[in-house]
């Protein structure tokens, strides 16, 4: 029995079973708008990258869904279905609406800490947004789970880590307006654990100035 859970940008998510165990199936379907050669190249690359990173993250102590099985003919990954989790984006929206910023601040610190662990292991996520982080309730606190590693790469470059944070900053601040304090918490969490935090932070401020027409006067 397979039911569609949601459709992300990369693929469709189905709820199904694997060897009798409930699991989530992520199918990277063929994007017919792309040239077939390009599509195949991208899909294969992202599929293998995602599996590799999901398991590598676990060895770094970052909670990610466990991979059960990969079928590279149909481009599907069977992985653990984390039912007790909420998408970080919805979690933020809900708690901002309720005015519980204290809980959020702690969680954001935790998210930053997790990203630091990721970067310490020389993994760059490539698509950090509040939709790609799940929140899991532990007994007295919230933990975060990283997902969607399709664009991730192995890189020890400060540049790549800086861009990773920059991408998160833009996505976070445009999705959640008036939440600069929360993003500062994420950065604080990042700085608390990252090996090369000073260099990455100065790179980040350099990258911020790069975009075109940043001031958009007019």
């Amino acid at each position: 029995m397979t039911t569609l859970v949601s459709q992300g940008a990369e693929g469709r998510l189905f709820e199904t079973t694997f060897l009798g165990r409930p699991c989530l199936m992520k199918e990277r379907f063929k994007k017919s708008y792309r040239h077939p050669v390009l599509d195949e190249k991208l899909t294969n690359k992202r599929l293998s990258q995602e599996c590799r990173m999901l398991s590598k993250c676990r060895s770094l102590g970052i909670r990610t869904p466990t991979v059960y099985y990969v079928n590279n003919k149909t481009n599907t990954i069977y992985m653990e279905y984390m039912k007790q989790t909420v998408v970080f984006k919805d979690f933020v929206d809900e708690h901002v609406a309720k005015g519980e910023r204290r809980v959020l601040a702690d969680l954001c610190f935790n998210v930053g800490y997790t990203i630091a662990l990721l970067h310490n292991g020389d993994i760059v996520h490539g698509d950090l947004t509040s939709s790609n982080v799940l929140v899991m309730k532990r007994i007295d606190k919230y933990d975060c789970v990283l997902i969607d590693f399709g664009l991730s790469t192995n890189s020890s470059l400060v540049e790549d880590k800086g861009v990773d944070l920059y991408v998160l900053e833009k996505a976070f601040l445009s999705t959640h307006p008036n939440s600069q304090d929360l993003f500062d918490k994420i950065l604080a969490g990042y700085c608390s654990a990252a090996h090369s935090q000073k260099v990455v932070m100065s790179k980040l401020s350099e990258i911020r100035l790069r975009g075109r027409k940043r001031s958009m006067v007019g």
């Binding site: 792309r34 998160l168 975009g211 958009m216 007019g218």
Partner: protein, 455 residues
Amino acid sequence: MVISIGLEGSANKIGVGIVRDGEVLSNPRHTYCAPTGHGFLPRHTAQHHRDHVLKLVKQAIEEAGVSVSAIDCVSYTKGPGMGAPLVSTAVVARTLAQLWNVPLIPVNHCIAHIEMGRQVTGADNPTVLYVSGGNTQVISYMNQRYMIFGETLDIAVGNCLDRFARVLKLSNDPCPGYNIEQLAKQGEKFIELPYCVKGMDVSFSGLLSHIEGTAVKMLAAGECTQADLCYSLQETVFAMLVEITERAMAHSRSKQVLVVGGVGCNLRLQEMLAIMAQERGASLCATDDRYCIDNGAMIAHTGNLIGSELTKFISHGVIRRKTSMRKHASQPAISTQDAAVLTPLSFSRSMEFIPAPRVKSYTTKNEVSMEQFILPPPAPVRLTLLPTTLVRENRQSFTSVTRKRISRGCQSFVRKMCHPRSLPDPPKTRITSATLNNGTFRRSLPELSSNSVLI
């Protein structure tokens, strides 16, 4: 019923449009085509605009069949764009506003594109892909403002295509992108090119240097044709654009996508977006070259929206017109400075910009509650911020002619600031335009906050 005339000249197109409540009455345009193998330079483009703008204004009025007295406001592109062409257009707009004694309304170019796209296609709340020679952005309207979700980290997509056309020595007439599109239809072989998507952002500069380097070699060796290169380039860059749009749609859970900007009239891009939208159960809203490419009508339409909003603000006493301005018959009833304060159509410092006004429910009670305005009413502090933006922009792009005009505006602002209640020590010297220009004025006002440093 409001009729407005809009002047657009932020890049190599000069356009004049007349719009009556969203209905386009006329929309003539003239394009500056640089010589083959070159891009358009600000100086030449500005000269082109100056040569054609008056003819276009006349043509627009004749085609629209309205008399000059029927025109309610003049709107012009305030930015962003190239300095010299912007100035030549702005000078014409200001002169017209003073001649006809109507309000002058500055319009943000990006918002004008989006608002026109929404008007033409009837899109309600789409995710917007804004792609042109100078901009590549994925924008969404959330929490009462337009937010940039993704954008290019270096050059714009149109810029990438234009520069590649120069390598192939394709003609700039009517535009390089169109010629690439036509040539790409004959392409058969797909050449793999770098593909660079970072989250919801894209980067084109690496791709461009790669293709500029290999194109010459491959063409010389006879490994591919020009058409193959165009085809591969289009396929790759458009796939990147569609992908980031899809990411933004998934992130904001949007069911509509609107494509605007010059590159947006490329049929292959529209086709790819339509397929993507269909796969997601969403729909594509696209327009043709009349509205995708820079035009006067979009400026007029957005000016119209702002104008009607301004009137509401004024009639409810949320803001008052500057009385000093009305003393001079030659001055427009709402000055540029007023409009800049009232219509926050400028990007704020971060990546968000305050939207064109959209009032959904509006009642005419005597008591105006602030919630009725979707736009926040301008706080007094914005006034002190105003001159900085003017001055900054002034330094970047304005000639001495406009600088004088702006100084005059600043003067009235300063007079207001110099009121005993706002400043501890009123300046002793009388402020004239002469003192403004020779700099004594600044020395006499050391107490002004850092935000209001003048020229």
